[in-house]
């Protein structure tokens, strides 16, 4: 399945998670220093520390491989990039809960929720002091281009590119039909909608976590289309601007269903 021959690559580049970590960390630096996010280094450190510590504890308990710490790091970076709160406790707990849910809520050795997504949705629902700022990325064209290309490259490596493309494609088609063809807005109105960093980050990073989406390619295509349609409905008629994140939270039953009717071997990270 891999397009790039692994033999020629150094050990570092064999695990796509290393790319993901670099990718997410780069955007965090961009967000803090270029976009002047209200995210202090103390908050970032707190999220990284508690999330990775929780992951470490669960690894020890399960006699797991230490390389899974990378997944913990990816989750914590994802939280930093999407979740906002004025409370350090909320942010740290979001990380703890995200990782713990990964180990507790499982079915057939596969965790059901995307950890970062679970942490985000849960903390917004129960803590009363967390939120998502969908507008925080702006629509800087160059930045979005880099986000897309790098995201695409990583997904290509783990073989989940089609999930993002189908999600974005279906959503674009629906939005194009409604915004441009039906309502008669100009094309730049539509493009502005799709130049949201939050949407692209979600598409290239969150819904493509191979552990929490269907294993079979066919299932993933249908799964991503359903996600896109639900996102479109929620954002258009219920004015829910963070719709994809909420929809993804309710997708696990569908993932299980698709894994049942389209069985395929579970994804394994290359841990070498």
């Amino acid at each position: 399945m891999r397009a790039i021959s692994l033999s020629t690559k150094s050990i570092f580049f064999q695990d796509a998670r290393n790319y993901q970590i670099l990718y997410l960390a780069a955007f965090l630096v961009f967000g803090i220093f270029k976009l002047h996010w209200d995210l202090s280094l103390i908050k970032v450190s707190a999220i990284l520390f508690t999330t990775c510590l929780t992951q470490f504890a669960w690894i020890k308990i399960n006699n797991g491989q230490l390389s899974s710490l990378k997944s913990g790091l990816i989750t914590s970076l994802g939280l930093c990039l999407i979740l906002n709160s004025t409370s350090i406790i909320t942010l740290s707990l979001a990380g703890m809960l995200a990782i713990s849910a990964k180990y507790i809520i499982r079915y057939k050795h596969k965790h059901l929720f995307n950890p970062a997504n679970f942490g985000i949705v849960l903390s917004i629902l129960i803590f009363n002091d967390a939120w998502i700022s969908p507008g925080q990325w702006g629509s800087d064209a160059l930045f979005l281009f880099v986000l897309t290309v790098l995201g695409g490259f990583i997904l290509h490596k783990i073989g989940r590119l089609e999930t993002s493309l189908i999600f974005l494609g279906v959503l674009f088609l629906l939005e194009f039909t409604r915004t441009v063809l039906y309502q008669g807005w100009e094309m730049d109105v539509l493009l502005h909608k799709f130049s949201s960093g939050t949407l692209l980050l979600f598409s290239f990073f969150m819904i493509t976590d191979p552990m929490t989406i269907p294993n079979s390619k066919k299932a993933r295509i249908i799964w991503a289309s359903i996600l896109a349609v639900a996102t479109f409905i929620l954002s258009t008629w219920m004015q829910l601007y963070t719709a994809p994140i909420w929809v993804l939270f309710f997708m696990p039953p569908l993932t299980l269903f698709f894994d049942k009717i389209y069985p395929y071997k579970k994804f394994e990270w290359n841990n070498n």
């Binding site: 399960n62 006699n63 906002n84 939120w131 969908p134 702006g138 309502q183 909608k193």
Partner: protein, 510 residues
């Protein structure tokens, strides 16, 4: 050369505006008299799905020419439309505006920034006040329905719905509104999005009656009762999940950028934009003492520079504070104007300012946003959300009054050296914030440099200026702390539990 060009642009805008019709958000006239040209002011109050929007209006000219069209999500009832006094906007503006703070003598001083506001369209002829059968038939042909018609104080209000944009455009033209081509193009998306059109004009007789000038003309022929300034702001309330401000109609005619100041109130915390970036305006910076006399210009240039730096698309946070009558912390530091009192809040539409038990509420959060928008940078209407972010913020700039008198003693010499470094720092800040050329202000540094007997002292001292951030009174109580502790303990308990199970039965784990 540059100056000349700027002047020409301003002039063209002014004259263009006066001739043509403009919609909500469009500014007419007088580009040179106020600090921020073409600025609209809007108060938005959001409580659940209920939104109350108040639009200020300082249309100047013949009131017969005044009319306004605003897209609204549903047909408003008469009780949903109110007229408020202009003083409300002045109060909110004065209270939340960017401020100067002076240190040493603690005398806060800041000239109030004046904003212009106009959300109006010029209107050709008088609209017929009664609707004949013929009109009804014609409306049907055009697909335009008059959903409601009200007289609220001096305003005649129509709420229109339309089937298609050409019909609405024709209706507006036939009824005396001149529609700019660009505006007609964006009518269609609003119609398709099921928005209604709130059309306002002024009833001159009623206005005279309210102003008590009905009979004045009998005796004073020269009294120009048609040239009334400062029409009162209109306030509308509606229930809809949409929390947005339509800016596209307003920019239809405009070739340049327009400013808008939004005063938003919520129960939970700050209001932010969801489809554009919301960023803080640079604040808490030390600036030279001489800026005191030109603070207005300073802030205008600071805003322009910040706007450029953020790709001209960001929306700036200028103020965020819990202003509940019950809130015990400082309401501002320094206060530029008196904090809004209970009646101001109620007038603005904050209907939870007083609860059922007649107690003042403790959750009125005030956000002031300032944006500069144009067709190229802001293709979409503004969408907002209320966040639980209760952190306080204000646009605040610091002046330092230095000591004067004999500074020849050793301590005085060290002090002079410190002041020199501080003042260089202030000038550099000024240059960075506003792009002003600060070389011409060398006298500001020289004043203390000349007092130094031994210039080598300069190598021994450092600038003492740190940005003096006041304690902002951010509520420190954690929300739902009990739940957080419980969840934390649960996770720890689960980890321990899982560990114990594994000790007993190693196969139970993965």
């Amino acid at each position: 050369m540059m100056k000349k060009q700027l002047f020409l642009t301003a002039f063209c805008l002014g004259s263009f505006a006066l001739q043509s019709l403009s919609f909500c958000g469009f500014y007419v006239a007088k580009a040179d008299t106020k600090l921020f040209n073409k600025t609209s002011q809007v108060i938005m109050v959001r409580d659940g799905n209920k939104t109350t929007v108040t639009m200020a209006n300082d249309f100047k000219g013949n009131v017969k020419d005044f009319a306004m069209v605003i897209p609204v999500p549903n047909v408003l009832q008469k009780k949903d439309i109110r007229i408020v006094e202009n003083s409300l906007f002045n109060k909110l503006d004065a209270y939340s505006g960017p401020r100067l703070v002076e240190y040493y003598d603690e005398n806060p001083c800041s000239p109030r920034i004046q904003y212009d506001m106009l959300e109006s369209i010029q209107y050709n002829n008088a609209i017929p006040t009664s609707i004949s059968m013929k009109d009804v038939k014609r409306n049907k042909v055009l697909g335009v329905t008059i959903e409601a018609q009200y007289q609220v104080d001096e305003y005649d209000i129509l709420i229109l719905s339309a089937k298609e944009s050409d019909g609405l455009k024709t209706w507006l033209t036939e009824n005396g509104y001149k529609i700019p081509t660009a505006a007609a193009e964006v009518l269609a998306p609003y119609i398709k999005n099921n928005l209604k059109f709130f059309v306002v004009k002024v009833d001159l007789d009623k206005l005279n009656e309210i102003n008590g000038t009905t009979n004045l003309n009998k005796y004073i022929k020269t009294h120009d009762n048609e040239n009334i300034q400062n029409l009162r702001p209109i306030q509308i309330s509606y229930t809809s999940p949409k929390f947005m401000l339509p800016i596209r109609l307003g920019m239809a005619n405009s070739t340049g950028a327009q400013d808008m100041v939004v005063y938003a109130f919520s129960k939970e915390g700050r209001v932010e934009c969801t489809n554009y970036r919301t960023v803080k305006i640079p604040s808490n910076e030390n600036i030279p003492l001489f800026v005191k006399n030109k603070f207005g210009q300073f802030y205008v240039d600071l805003f322009e520079r910040a706007h450029d730096k953020e790709n001209k698309e960001a929306i700036f946070l200028e103020y965020a504070w819990n202003i509940s009558p019950q809130f015990r912390g400082a309401k501002c530091d320094p206060c530029v104007g008196p904090p809004p009192i209970f009646t101001d809040l109620t007038k603005a539409g904050v209907n939870w300012a007083m609860n059922n038990g007649n107690q003042a509420s403790s959750n009125v959060f005030f956000t002031r946003l300032h944006l500069r928008y144009s067709r190229n940078t802001h293709p979409r209407d503004l969408e907002f959300q209320v966040t639980p972010n209760k952190e306080h913020f204000q646009a605040r700039y610091i002046l330092t009054n230095t000591a004067v008198g004999d500074l020849s003693c050793n301590a005085g010499q060290t002090y002079c050296a410190t002041v020199i470094k501080n003042r260089v720092n202030e000038l550099e800040n000024l240059s960075q914030l506003t792009s002003w050329s600060t070389v011409e202000y060398s006298g500001y540094v020289k004043e203390y440099y000349d007092l130094l007997k031994d210039k080598n002292i300069l190598n021994e001292v450092k600038s003492t200026q740190k940005n003096k951030q006041p304690w902002l009174g951010v509520p420190s109580n954690e929300s739902r702390l009990g739940l957080k502790i419980a969840l934390f303990l649960s996770v720890v308990f689960l980890l321990t539990f899982a560990y114990l199970i594994r000790q007993k039965n190693p196969l139970a784990s993965k």
